[in-house]
């Protein structure tokens, strides 16, 4: 399959190729990766395109090597990325913790498959916790963006690079096997964000200036407190400025169905059907999983009676919804570990049941 970076033309494209094309258009200079289904097309595309453009592509010897190569590259101030899936993202957790502390704009694409352990290659949303909480040590946050269609794979890849550099913080694009493999018509456009000046911190050689160090620690107890406090001042800014979500018919809703990523598509369809039946139901989708739209959910909880959270996992985002709602409304969960999204018909049935069976 031949995929070219076309700006301004509608093309039918797989999610994985869309992400890869968007990364190239965003100015990604280096790609480091190790293949794993269901995201291998990203590396495949990069292996040809990056060389063609005179940029760097390294097929790393392991996921651990790949993510550490990204750390090395971005510390010089260039845009760099890796992409991987579930069990292989697990191997990158140490590096992600380091990158938050080093304050490095690492961009990582995570295309979720079934877990835990090796799991299988069917789509899943089981890595919500892995992305938003993570398995690295210490207090840290990673910006997490969750697309729900192929066009958004492009939009949010652009945004991932922008936010990573704006805040000097690792950013994860959290897609799933379904989004990675499906084809939809998409439109490319030029990278819409300003380029962030990295001259104050990037390691570019100390010629004509003092040497710089990028490190992840302060040796003294008090210094480390100041260091982490500063990180959290940054997180506060992110939480104040970067929350993004989508709402549908929530104005008078008695029940709001919440979902992220591809699962939201079915939720929205189910809500449309229920509205036609006269049920006061709405839909809510966090686009940024960190920062999580807790404030908006809390506002909604003042008048919404019930939230129904649906995920292709055993209940991960539901905990963030419960924390946000904080007892003001009932929070229910419907999910399954792995595989096809929950059918629209099943969702309609569940909504009807929860609203007293109309």
């Amino acid at each position: 399959m031949v995929v070219e970076c076309l700006t301004g033309t509608k093309v039918l494209m797989k999610g994985n190729y869309a992400i890869a094309n968007a990364a190239v258009l965003a100015g990604c200079q280096c790609y480091f990766g190790y293949p794993i289904t269901p995201q291998s097309e990203i590396g495949e595309f990069m292996s040809g395109k990056m060389q063609q453009l005179g940029r760097a592509y390294v097929s790393a010897e392991s996921e651990l090597a790949a993510i550490n190569m990204v750390i090395g590259a971005v510390s010089t101030g260039v845009k760099a990325m890796s992409s991987s899936s579930s069990c292989a993202i697990s191997l990158m957790q140490e590096a992600l913790s380091y990158a938050t502390s080093d304050q490095l704009p690492v961009v990582l694409v995570s295309v979720m498959r079934g877990g835990p352990g090796l799991g299988n290659i069917y789509p899943s949303q089981g890595d919500y916790n892995q992305a938003t909480i993570g398995g690295g040590n210490g207090d840290y946050n990673i910006i997490v963006l969750a697309p729900s269609n192929v066009q958004e794979c492009i939009d949010l890849t652009y945004k991932a690079f922008y936010l990573a550099f704006k805040y000097r913080n690792p950013t994860i694009l959290l897609a799933d096997g379904l989004l990675g493999q499906m084809m939809e018509p998409v439109e490319f456009y030029d990278y819409p964000y300003p380029e962030i000046d990295t001259s104050s911190w990037a390691l570019t050689g100390a010629k004509g200036r003092d040497a710089r160090v990028i490190r992840s620690y302060a040796p003294l107890e008090t210094d480390q407190c100041v260091y982490v406090d500063n990180l959290f001042k940054k997180y506060k800014l992110i939480e104040e400025n970067e929350v993004e979500y989508e709402e549908y018919m929530t104005d008078d809703a008695e029940l709001v169905v919440a979902a992220f990523g591809s699962m939201y598509r079915n939720v929205k369809s189910a809500v449309k059907i229920c509205r036609e039946k006269g049920l006061k139901v709405g839909a809510f989708r966090p686009i940024t999983l960190y920062p999580f739209p807790s404030k908006r959910l809390s506002e909604l909880a003042d008048r919404v009676e019930k939230f129904l959270v649906t995920e292709i996992n055993m209940g991960q985002m539901v905990r963030d919804v419960r924390l946000a709602v904080n007892g003001k409304a009932r929070v229910l969960f419907k999910g399954k570990a792995v595989g096809a999204m929950i059918d629209v018909e099943d969702l309609v049935e569940e909504i009807e049941k929860q609203m007293g069976g109309v």
Partner: protein, 182 residues
């Protein structure tokens, strides 16, 4: 309006490509569309399928348990997908590789000896998939031959462009096939 399509058959029958042509055609008609391949631990010689969902609004799921139009190019797919056809929907069956049998009375069966036609009229069984799209165009009335033709130009890579006229012929023959009930 949202309509679901499934194309299924043996690996090598061009199932995924036919789906891609169909999805491109809907895109060219300015519809929203999603294409999704069968997915999992597949093996050579096994069955393969893809789903295409066309919608005037946003496309919801691509993995539904019911579909409006299903093309089955072999017996295994016919056996599997008959129950997936939505009530009132249609199944286009390649009767060259599947036995003619009607197990449901709430769906439309369209039996066409697709492989045989491709061999006899086009001289190449590889044309089966695009021939089937021609049949689908007539049965569904949701996509025109003209748009499918244009879609072929989108999908077929430059070094295979010389095959397009033959594929267009396949579309036409499929469309013109006399769909009298068996």
């Amino acid at each position: 309006m949202e309509k679901d399509f499934i194309i299924a058959g043996f690996g090598g029958q061009g199932v995924l490509l036919a789906g891609e042509v169909l999805a491109n055609a809907f895109m060219l008609d300015c519809k929203n569309v999603t294409w999704y391949p069968s997915y999992g631990a597949e093996m050579r010689g096994g069955t393969v399928n893809c789903g295409v969902v066309m919608s005037d609004e946003e496309v919801s799921s691509v993995q539904k348990s019911k579909s409006d139009f299903i093309i089955v190019l072999n017996q295994a797919s016919f056996d599997k997908y008959t129950s997936w056809v939505r009530k009132g929907g249609s199944i286009i069956v390649n009767s060259s590789l599947a036995k003619i049998a009607k197990t449901r009375d709430d769906i439309n069966y369209i039996f066409v000896p697709i492989t045989k036609m491709a061999q006899e009229k086009l001289g190449n069984i590889k044309m089966s998939n695009i021939f089937a799209l021609g049949v689908l165009s007539k049965v569904s009335r949701l996509v025109s031959l003209k748009t499918l033709e244009k879609a072929l130009y989108n999908v077929i890579p430059p070094h295979r462009k010389h095959l397009i006229p033959k594929n267009i012929e396949a579309l036409k023959l499929g469309y013109e096939y006399d769909l009298l009930p068996v």
